[in-house]
């Protein structure tokens, strides 16, 4: 999909940028400022103190050879959604497998910060789905924290049923839409 393509593109452009510069810490300052203004771009508050305790050059900083592998891993990281059963935020075996990979990726890319988006299928009502999407994102975040990833690197946002991945009106579409999606910052 177009959106996916954009994200991959963004990754290709952004990740090297993150590696090379101190852009992260600048961004953090900006986010803080926005936050204190009350209701600024707080969707990015993960920038608040993402680097606490993890050297800014650890993990992905040095190697130039891993580019393709890293690209593939990053691709997989953003393209592979965790999916859920209807009206559930429980992580089944498959979801946990995917999240183990996500945790691994985040461990080996210690500068990476991620937004976890929670989504729902179209069947329920919009308000409850907003809360359910948040519960799904929170459930994923909790799993990753338990896997050793710092909570400060992860932001959550719920889109309820507002942004279906597949516009279909059948279980095939719904099962894709009940998802947690990962966006690298």
């Amino acid at each position: 999909m177009k959106r996916r393509l954009m994200m991959v593109l963004a990754l290709v452009l952004i990740v090297p940028g993150l590696l090379m510069t101190a852009a992260c810490s600048k961004k953090a300052v900006k986010s803080d400022a926005a936050l204190t203004q009350g209701g600024g771009d707080t969707g990015r508050t993960i920038g608040k103190d993402p680097k606490k305790g993890t050297g800014s050059d650890s993990g992905i900083g040095g190697t130039g050879t891993g580019d393709t592998m890293r690209g593939a891993a990053a691709d997989r990281f953003v393209n592979e959604d965790v999916t859920f059963a209807y009206d559930s935020s429980a992580l089944d075996a498959r979801a946990q497998e995917i999240l183990k990979f996500k945790a691994e990726f985040l461990r080996s890319n210690a500068n990476a910060a991620v937004t976890i988006e929670g989504h729902c299928d179209e069947r329920g009502t919009s308000e409850y789905n907003m809360a359910l999407g948040q519960k799904r994102a929170d459930s994923v975040k909790k799993f990753l924290i338990n896997s050793g990833i710092s909570g400060s690197r992860m932001n959550t946002v719920s889109f309820g049923k507002e942004r279906a991945l597949d516009p279909g009106h059948n279980e095939a579409a719904w099962s894709k839409n009940r998802r947690a999606h990962f966006v690298l910052q």
């Binding site: 209701g39 409850y128 907003m130 809360a131 719920s158």
Partner: protein, 433 residues
Amino acid sequence: MMNSRNSFFIVFLTLFLPMVCSAEININISNPNMRKIPIAIPAFNASAAGEDAIAKKGADILGSTLDFTGFFKLLDRVSFLEDPKNFNPGVVNYRNWTAIGAEILVTGQTQMQGDTLQMDLRAYDTFKGNLLVGKRYKGHVNDLQKMVRRFASEIIFALTGNWGIFDSQICFVSTGTGFKEIYMSDFDGGNPQQITNHRSISMTPALSPDGNWIAYTSYMKSKPVIFIKNMVGGGGSISSESNMNITPDWVPGKFMLAATLSLGGSQEIYLLTGAGKIIKKITNSPGIDVSPSFSPDGHRFAFVSDRAGSPQIYIGDTDSGRADRITFEGKYNTQPSWSPKGDKIAYSSISGGQINICVIGVGGGGTAQLTYNSGRNEYPSWAPDGSMIAYASSREGSNRIYVMTAYGTDQRRLVSLPGEQTSPKWSARVVRN
């Protein structure tokens, strides 16, 4: 701001004090089997030849306004035995009206002076042979509808003891611009106006009981935050106390809201100040608590919780923190709306792949399903007098705003706008001159 019609002025006088009546015509909006009251509204009597069109239009607007409530049966003018031209103001031959079955007769007398329209409007109880209410209105001719609606409210007040819905408004979400934006219309869907332009996702609007404030959720700031805006003077605040700030509802009698926030990994309902700051948490469960809807006295609220494993309606108490489940049928009951009379909760229920509007007593008994086999039916919201329910339905394909009586009768579409319309919220009665 949004209401340029506020600037007009209307002068009205009580023409005659109605005889203190123990009215036999009694509209009991709590009676599901209520018989519609036959009402005769002849074209108003123009004082000069050029006014006939205005005089007829006035009577037509009054007819359609009253008809909206579902309380009345409008009698066909063809059956009338009397020509309005022959009316002698204040003197009515009641027998000519009881003979055709009319229980209420409304007469009007118009008089134009430049752009100023004066109307003497009178409603009679034909069987008792007395005046129910009579008023004189004077204003710009462009405010004909406003003046006629005022008189319609007087008739409703004379018959029911409350002021009805004609001064209320409905806010809703529409996608006509390609984005979910908030709109507001008259009670009947007329005069729709777009009131946000965030070009984002804006949803779940709620007007404060005094009509001066609107609260809604928007993603304009990249996460769902609550906008609280003053509808009169402009200004307001943004409440972004957590990653997710959704489903605002106003607390009756206070400049205070309740909304769901997500702090500490749990979605709970909090009381917020009118500026959007947290006062206290009023639900407490490990999972989802969402969609507060307050009782008229402001002490209790209906809400949705998944604490028992599926979304169900609960009644919470803001003081004690106690919560009681009231829905037990079905596995997906959401979107509670507490009735203005305080005795019922309307909600939407998913069952067998359908979503329909239901009502249930506040104590948990007396469930009734109001919509059937007609696409998605959701987002119920009570009219301020409790006589009707607005909701969204996809029965014609796209989602549109509909209304029905509190008993599910007279279901009809309200607005015809580009895009889809959802999330109607009926405001309290707000009178601005």
